[in-house]
């Protein structure tokens, strides 16, 4: 059984019909990449799964319907979220950002500090003064603090230097050993390195589902669906 199952999901943003009945499953374990050109609805899909936008359709987490569950309760059922723009709380310190995210009785600070030693060193620093890469570490660290069943990660390498992209890919690989990840990512090198499955969206519809490696090996298909290669 799929850990996360999305059936006929629709989202309207104003007059725009952004998601037009998308359906796909996310299998337990590993990374499922959600791909597509800019503006096809990838970020909206994650926001809809989190309940951050009004949506219609069926969303099941381990068999339980969550489409009518409010955001904070979806999170408490084990869904972690790393948003596209990191959304760290800039006036709060690194420590306070992490403390705010604590849900479990024993938050996994050891894991977070092992993956991102800088977060320990910069604990007293306001998050708004961190570099983009450090803010991304904090956003991912915040989601890893609790034992989530699935992580929704939105473009974690966006705007990062090549060195940091490699670092984030390494972290994602490690994270995928611990939990299931639904990853929105434009960098196909990262997708190739970490993803097992791929779902491709185009103008609010699912146009391809299959193994990520097969998709990435098919250059004409990549060019047609994603406009690259």
């Amino acid at each position: 059984m799929a850990l996360l199952s999305i059936q006929d999901l629709h989202v309207y943003l104003g007059e725009s019909h952004v998601l037009q009945g998308i359906s796909f499953d996310v299998a337990e374990g590993g990374v499922t990449a959600l791909l597509g050109r800019n503006g096809v609805g990838k970020t909206t899909t994650l926001r809809a799964l989190m309940g951050l936008v009004d949506r219609r359709g069926t969303i099941r987490l381990a068999g339980d319907a969550i489409e009518h569950v409010p955001t904070h309760k979806i999170v408490r059922r084990g869904v972690g979220y790393v948003p596209e723009d990191r959304d760290v709380f800039s006036t709060l310190t690194v420590e306070e950002n992490l403390r705010l995210a604590e849900r479990d009785t024993e938050p996994r600070y050891d894991l977070v500090h092992e993956l991102f030693p800088e977060l320990r060193e910069r604990g007293k620093q306001p998050a708004g003064t961190l570099s983009g890469g450090q803010q991304q570490m904090l956003a991912i660290g915040r989601a890893l603090l609790n034992d989530n069943r699935v992580l929704l990660v939105d473009e974690p390498t966006k705007g990062l230097s090549p060195l940091l992209v490699t670092e984030v890919a390494r972290v994602l690989q490690r994270v995928s050993e611990l939990t299931t990840v639904l990853l929105v990512e434009q960098n196909l090198g990262v997708v190739n390195r970490v993803a097992r499955d791929a779902v491709v969206l185009d103008t609010g519809r699912v146009v391809h589902i299959g193994p990520a490696k097969e998709l990435l090996a098919d250059k004409p298909m990549i060019h047609r669906m994603l406009g690259v290669g």
Partner: protein
């Protein structure tokens, strides 16, 4: 020198009053995006409760009578604020026009209700004798109630800072002021904080209501709404959602109002505050603390 000192202390007293009202307004807007035009009635409700309870305790000596009545005023003001959020504001989150209409409507309705029950004339409250006297410092005769106003505002400022910096709810409020949706996306039911912030705002406004009663020794149906106008100005000057910015803005507004009334012309104090607001909005649109006004 003595006149300047008198104006400074009374200006700080006025600023203290503004801070007590504006701190709640600022937190409510900063966290919830609610422009609470009903905030003034928390002052009115606390003031009238104080007067009502005090009038029923005729045999009790003045000081304990006033303290008991003040406590009752604070409790009722706080509960009234929490109920306002739960009953009227909560069903309207995200609907800003409706929120404004309902808070304006509540302010008008409560003022009309108080007027209908107890009339439009001011009701006299017996304040403890010492508060009506003065203390002479460097030749300036400072009304004693101003010391109480200033001391209370400082205590409330430190209490709010401690709440915001040292408690989990304070952490949630500070984060929520910045990005409410992301707080929810961390698994936190931010609505609980909304009620708490409304209750804190109601308590602070209630304290202002009690202190204003101490200062004027009367309560009247309009006192809350007249004070809240300047509190809104303080909030915008200080920066929405910032307690420290609100404190600085309250001090500046209180002092400017007092100095202008004395050194320029009586009545120019209000105008000078509006001018100050205009200057701040042009030079620093995000207010003193930098939050976007």
């Amino acid at each position: 020198m003595s006149t300047f000192l008198l104006l400074t202390i009374t200006g700080l007293g006025l600023g203290a009053m503004y801070f007590l009202i504006a701190s709640g307004l600022s937190l409510i807007y900063g966290l919830m995006g609610v422009l609470n035009f009903a905030h003034g009635i928390f002052i009115t409700v606390a003031g009238y409760t104080l007067w009502f309870v005090e009038s029923k305790l005729g045999d009790v000596p003045v000081l304990p009578r006033f303290l008991i009545a003040a406590l009752a005023g604070l409790v009722v003001g706080t509960v009234f604020a929490a109920l306002t959020e739960l009953v009227l504001i909560r069903p309207l989150y995200g609907r800003h026009i409706e929120q404004v209409l309902v808070t304006v409507g509540l302010a008008l309705a409560v003022t009309a209700l108080v007027t209908a029950i107890w009339g439009s004339d001011a009701r006299v409250v017996a304040a403890p004798g010492w508060t009506g006297q003065t203390t002479t410092i460097f030749g300036a005769h400072i009304p004693n109630d101003r010391w109480i106003e200033i001391a209370t505002a400082v205590i409330v400022l430190f209490a709010l800072e401690a709440f915001l910096r040292r408690t989990r709810y304070g952490l949630i409020v500070r984060a929520g002021v910045e990005n409410r949706a992301m707080v929810t996306a961390l698994g936190i039911d931010v609505r609980k904080s909304f009620t708490l912030v409304f209750a804190i705002g109601g308590l602070a406004a209630g304290i202002a209501g009690v202190l204003y009663t101490l200062y004027s020794t009367t309560v009247d149906p309009q006192q809350g709404t007249s004070l809240v106008i300047f509190a809104f100005i303080v909030v915008v000057i200080g920066g929405l959602g910032s307690i420290r910015g609100t404190a600085w803005a309250a001090i500046i507004v209180g002092l400017v109002q007092q100095y202008a009334n004395y050194y320029a012309s009586s009545g120019l104090g209000d105008l000078s505050v509006v001018l100050l607001l205009g200057i701040v909005l042009i030079a620093r649109p995000r207010g003193l603390s930098g939050s976007f006004a």
